[in-house]
Symmetry: C2
Amino acid sequence: MTDRVGFIGLGIMGRGMTRNLLNAGHAVTVWNRTAARMEEFVAAGATAAASPAALAAVCEVVILCVSDTPDVEQVLLGEQGVIHGIRPGSLVIDMSTISPQATRDLAARLAAQGVAMLDAPVSGGSEGAARGTLSIMVGGSEADFARALPLFQAMGKTITRVGEQGAGQLVKLVNQILVVVNMLAVSEALLFAQAGGLDLPKTIQAVAGGAAGSWMLSNRGTQAIVRDFRPGFTIDLQQKDVRLVLEAADQMGLPLLATGMVYQLYRSLQQQGLGHEGNHALIKALEHLALRQVGAAPDA
Amino acid sequence: MTDRVGFIGLGIMGRGMTRNLLNAGHAVTVWNRTAARMEEFVAAGATAAASPAALAAVCEVVILCVSDTPDVEQVLLGEQGVIHGIRPGSLVIDMSTISPQATRDLAARLAAQGVAMLDAPVSGGSEGAARGTLSIMVGGSEADFARALPLFQAMGKTITRVGEQGAGQLVKLVNQILVVVNMLAVSEALLFAQAGGLDLPKTIQAVAGGAAGSWMLSNRGTQAIVRDFRPGFTIDLQQKDVRLVLEAADQMGLPLLATGMVYQLYRSLQQQGLGHEGNHALIKALEHLALRQVGAAPDA
C-alpha cells in the first residue's frame, strides 16, 4: 500500500516541494499556519487538514518544511501537534534546517511512540524546490530511507543518505559553511577586481573554470556585479543557518574563524535593514568597510 | 616569418610549458639559472643560451616564468639581463606571478627600447603546465595578444585577454584570493564534519554538486581527508602570491579580512616547517587551533 503523505509548511520551499509530490501522483494532505496558503493546493487536488494532529491522523508519512528549531518543536510537540495524532509505524520526515542535537532529541520522543524519523534538509533554493532538483541530505535508518526514497525522488535530484539521525542536519550545516565562506571569497575577489579597475564579467570568465571556480562565483558573483540582490535564499534565513552552525560548533568545542566572521558581517547587514536581500549581499558588508561599490546595475 | 621563441625559467611550471612549445614545433632557446636543468631540453631539440641577454639577441619573443618580482627584475634588467640583448620590435611575455605595479613599471622600461610586453600569469599548477591545459590571463595590447596567441595555445586551454598591461597580474591575484579563501571554507567545513562524526567522503559527495561546490572542495578537499598534502602548488609559493594580493590591496586602500587571515595562517604553517606542502595544508593551521585532525591516511 502506498503511504498517504502529509506536508506541513507551504512556505517558499514547501510550496514547490508539495507541488512536485502532487505532480508525481501522491495523495497529499497539507497544513499551513496561514490557512489561506492551502487554497491553491486544494484546487490542485490536495486535502487541507485542520491541524498538524489532524493531518498526522490520516497520513502514514508526515513531511515538515518550516523555518527553525522552535517551529519544528511546535508543529511536532505543541498543543495540536503531530504527536497527538500520529500512529505507531508512521514516519516523520523533517526537511527543515534545524539543530542536529534537537533533531536527535525529537527523534527519541517520536521513537517512544513507535514513530520513525528522518532528518532530510535540502539545498538548492526556491528554484530547486520548484524544479524538483533539490539536493537532499538524509539522516536515519536504511529502512526508513528506502521507504521515503520515492517521495525524495519527486522533490530532488541528488539524494544522499549520509548517516544516522542528525547526520542530515550536520551535512546541511557543512553545506552552509561552504556557501557563506565561498561567498566571502567571491566578495573579496570582486572588491579587489573592482579596485584594480578590471572588467568584472571578463574577470569572472577568466577564473571560473579553474582552481578558483565555485558555484557561488558563477551564480551569485555574476548577480552581484550587476547589483542584483534578489534572494535565492535570504540573509535572514542564511543567518539562522549560520547560527545553527556556530551553536553546534560551540557544543563540539570547535573554533570557526571565517564562519564566525561571516555571522558578524551578516548581522551588520541585518542592522542596516537588508535581511530580506539574497545571501550574496554579503558583499555589501565588505563594500561598507571598504567605502567602495562593486559593479553597477545594467542601464534601465 | 615565425617568431623565434626564448624561454627563461625551467622550474616546476616552465618545464612543462617549454616541453609543450617544443612539441608544437616551435624553435625554442632556453636559459635557466641552474644550467644543468637545460640539458634535457637541449636533448629534446632546444638551444641553450649563455645568459638572458644572449637569449634575447637570437629571439623575437622572450617568455619568462620565474618565481617573484625581484627575479623578473633581475632577469630583465640585471647585468646580463634581457634588456641588454633584445632588439626593437620584440615581445616579452612574463608568465610569472608578480606585482601588477612592478609589471607596469617594467613594461614602461621595455617600451622605451621599442619592446612590447604582455603579462600572462597562469593557473592550473604543474599538472596543467605538463598537460598544456593552463588558464592564461593576459594583460596588454590586442596586437601583442594576437602575436602571442599561437604560443599560448601550445601551453594552455582557457586563454583570456583581460585588459591592458598589469591586468593579467591583477586577475591572477583575484584567482588567488578565491583559491585560498575557498580552501579556508573547505577547511572549516571538513573540521566541522569531522567533529560531528560524519563520513567525510560521503559528506563531500552530498554537497559538492550544489551551491556549496568548488574546485578546491572536489580536488583539494578529497586529498585532505586522506592526509595527502603533496603540493599541486606549495604553501611557500601560495604565500608569496597572497603577499602580492595584500601589497596591491594596501596600495589601493582596500581591507581584505579573510585573505589577510589566510596569510597569517599560512605564516604559522611556514613557522612549523610546512612551507613545502600543498596549499590545501591550510587545514592544518585550523586543526592546530582546534586540537583535532581531519580524516586519516588510507591503510598502507
